[in-house]
């Protein structure tokens, strides 16, 4: 029914996009994953092709939809571990990393505050995870002790810039606090920084354990 109305009256977009948002809600409620993804993609497409009819509302719906669409891409990236032969698993993981970076960068580019902080945090996670995966990757079995030590050093050198990048991304989020943006993603970014750079970020307020005076 709603589908027919949208097909017959796609304009004005300000109205048809609300019907599409409603269809997305219905797909979510019914648990129809394929339908849900199709609706999300539709919202992104309609906004991108809306021309002069593009509005803050279409941009907002497209931004939140693109964040949802990024989830499966992120999960594909996350599950791949770096196993031997490293060249193969690394190539695969790098490809998936590019995909996930593209989708989150796209989401952040909408300039919708809460989507930007979410996408920035996820990007930080992607780099942090890649760095951690490198450090936890399978070591070649053929190396002697000395060579293995060299290998470890090289690995650290490779992993470090990714961790740095993760820190920069989390910082981009925490820097928003001073402008009054303090959503869950900014809070999570503070937590991650406290783990990655404890000397600077693991600072908790202090309180008396107990106040003994009555007045």
């Amino acid at each position: 029914m709603l589908n027919n109305i949208i097909a017959r009256y796609p304009n004005p977009i300000s109205e048809s996009i609300e019907a599409r948002a409603r269809l997305l809600e219905m797909a979510e409620q019914s648990g129809n994953e394929q339908e849900r993804l199709a609706r999300l993609e539709e919202l992104v497409r309609v906004d991108a092709t809306a021309g002069a009819q593009r509005s803050d509302r279409t941009r907002y719906l497209a931004a939140t939809a693109s964040l949802e669409l990024a989830e499966p891409v992120r999960k594909r990236f996350e599950v791949i571990k770096l196993t031997q032969p490293l060249a193969d698993s690394l190539a695969l993981k790098k490809d998936l990393m590019e995909d996930v970076i593209n989708v989150y960068t796209g989401a952040a580019d909408y300039g919708v505050a809460e989507v930007t902080t979410a996408a920035t945090f996820r990007l930080g996670e992607v780099y942090e995870q890649f760095s951690a995966d490198l450090m936890e990757s399978d070591r070649p079995t053929s190396l002697e002790a000395d060579a293995l030590e060299q290998y470890e050093i090289l690995l650290e050198e490779q992993a470090f810039p990714f961790e740095e990048k993760a820190i920069d991304l989390y910082k981009a989020n925490t820097d928003r606090a001073a402008d009054g943006v303090y959503d869950d993603w900014v809070k999570k970014s503070f937590n991650r920084l406290a783990g990655l750079m404890p000397a600077r970020y693991a600072k908790k307020e202090r309180s008396e354990d107990v106040v003994t005076a009555l007045y």
Binding site: T174, D175, A177, A178, G180, Y182, F190, A199, R200, Y201, K203, K204, E205, R206, S207, E208, D209, V210, V211, T212, A213, L214, Y215
Partner: protein, 221 residues
Amino acid sequence: MLLRRCTNRTPLAGALLTLLVLAGCGGAGPTRDAAEAGRQVPGATPITGEAAGRAIPSRARTLHEQATAAMAAGDIVDAELRFKEFVLMYPDYPGAHVNLAIIHANNENDEATRAAVDAALALNPDHPAALNQLGMLLRRNGNFLEAEAAYMKAVTVSPDYALAHYNLGVLNELYLQRLESALQHFETYQRLVGEDKQVEKWIADLKRRIAATQRTANVAE
């Protein structure tokens, strides 16, 4: 009243009841010394004198001491019960409300924390420890400038209240990105409490970053 409440408690509070009978109703609780030897944070307890001329009933004093002793010993569930009981009997002592605020804040119960802080500040709007709790609560909720105002009021009415200087350091550095203010407050904290190795490192880091920013600014000019 405490005695009656004790005997009326349900069996569920069995273990607690035993404690209350022993420590509260029996009057053989830990001493004030035990409370004060507890886990005090350096720089805390800025509150000067217990309002000269106001007589505190000895019963109130005893019950409050027992509650603070329980809290200092880390027996938080018991302490909460005792403070709740206390403020029902003696609602006019801000210290008890502040202790409840501390307990609620540790339990991450913002609403109850706010109510306890408000109760303390209604009795004494200049209570440094209450203002400190208020600042921490506001910061957790992202109201950074209001948090700053609360801490600043605390150090204005009580310039030697080290904890609020410490918290102003954290607020300015992490959440407001005012490195120079952060440095100033950490330095004041350090001066008030003597030595704190960790804060010393933070001060060095802040100085280094401020100098780096100034160098960048000079180059830009």
